[in-house]
Amino acid sequence: MAGLCRRYGGRAAVHGLDLRVERGDLYGFLGPNGAGKTTAIRAILGLIQRDSGQVEVFGERHPVRQREEIGALVETPTFSEWLSGRNNLRIAAAYAGRGSEADIDEALERVGLRERAGERVGGYSLGMKQRLGIARALLGKPRLLVLDEPTNGLDPRGMKEVRDLLKELVRRDRLTVFVSSHLLAEVEAMCNRVGILDRGQLKAEGSVAELVKRLGGATHVEVGVATTDRPRALGVFEKLGGVEAMGEGEDGRMLLSLRGLEPAALNRALVEGGIDVGALVPRAGTLEELFLSVTSSEPGVA
């Protein structure tokens, strides 16, 4: 199954990143803004110099031949604005060395831009440009798509359309898709594998199910206590052991991760400590918790 493997290490914005995407994956490259996703993608595509590290695409190491197989969208896609959408795709097809007029039509059709392809790109909305960028990445039938936040600038319907399109490309057209996003829900909704990037380092990688399991069987609860009771509550948690505060839950409740401790025992301990428990909501472990626990929180937030 070692279809596709690439490594990348180097550059300050991204340190020693090692990741592997299998053939047929819809790989979510998740990370907060400024984590280094775009930098990593630029390095993978050979747009910027790598200080160290190698990239291998379908066993190919030569950067030019590698790109034969890749369709890419980096950050906000750019176009020759005074030319039509179709002419911009013609430019891409010419440089790709493949992509006939029929392919251009098909790519436009897939992103719903067939009707407006004759208009100047300068008159397109941000969402239309984003979709034209996706059409351009699809041109010439690449085997691997590398997409950097492709849903940027799209409305919720457009975002869903893109997610569905990517899922279809993987399922029906047997493409491999590597897609970056800072939106956890989006990655969770479409990807089968995820790598979480923070400050240029890969913090966790695996299938969505695996990653959730990696929470180590911990139970998650949200506990509602009065703000004034919080210091005392933290004291109780310390005495109990096996309780880790993970930040803020919904409605200002405390999000806790419990190890070897039943929620009922926690409740009892709090009540015995003289603290009123307004709510105790068990939560299924989600990718969000992992995301929050592995990515650095900003200073000032618990």
């Binding site: 747009l47 790109r67 890749i70 750019t78 013609r90 430019i91 097809a93 010419a94 440089y95």
Partner: protein, 276 residues
Amino acid sequence: MPRQFSSMVKVELLKVFTRGSGIGTLVVSALVAAFVTLLTWKVSGWQDGMSFNGQPVRGLFAFDVVTVGAWVLYARSLVVIPFLLLLATASAVAGEHADRTLRELAVRPVPRWSILAAKSVALAVLSACSVAITFTVAISLGWVLLGPPAIDQAIAEGDQSLARLALGYAASFFSDLALVAIGMALSVFVRSVGGVVVSIILLLIADRVLWAILALAGFLGVEVARDLVQWTLVAAMGCWKGWDGEFLPSQFAIVGLLTALAWGVAGLRFGRVDVP
């Protein structure tokens, strides 16, 4: 050379010929020719009514189609057309770097240098069109207004024929290529259109200062300076000036060498720059 090179050139032509700088180059090429030709025709008309020491001036200056074509050739090499051509080059490289459309080409399976090569071919075609338009307008308009070449003069001076003039125009295409190559090298380093314009102005000033120093040194008897002066940029780019006398092979060799050098530097450097 990537197998898709000819399609790359085709789409670069599309961009070069639809940008303002490209259209401007072509329009101004026609305008310069028409303007200089009309001016010559006007001046030649004044001559008719004038007399000098009681003799009519007519025939004193022969303004035929070849003279007009020659003046137009000089006019084309003055600031405007080279500037527009440089602007077209800077837009194609530095401009695309700045607006990040260059990135969309760099993600494709072609070596970096071949992107510059495709753009260079498109810009060379633009220059060739500019030369052809200028020549055609000057000659046809000149012929209509001032009549065919003065045969006797052509025989007398031998070199002032239409064919020689056409060679001069062809030679000015070589100067254009040098300009494109230099514009490309500057683009790769400076990466903004404004930056390229400023740096070419500084480069030309430096070149002329160097030329003046060498010329002075040569005048004062320094042999090396006399040899070196032809290596300065503007002097070398004047290779077309040999049209009515003798083309200097060494001058063409120097222009060719400077062009190749600029292209080489641009190609090598572009292989290593970040195209974000």
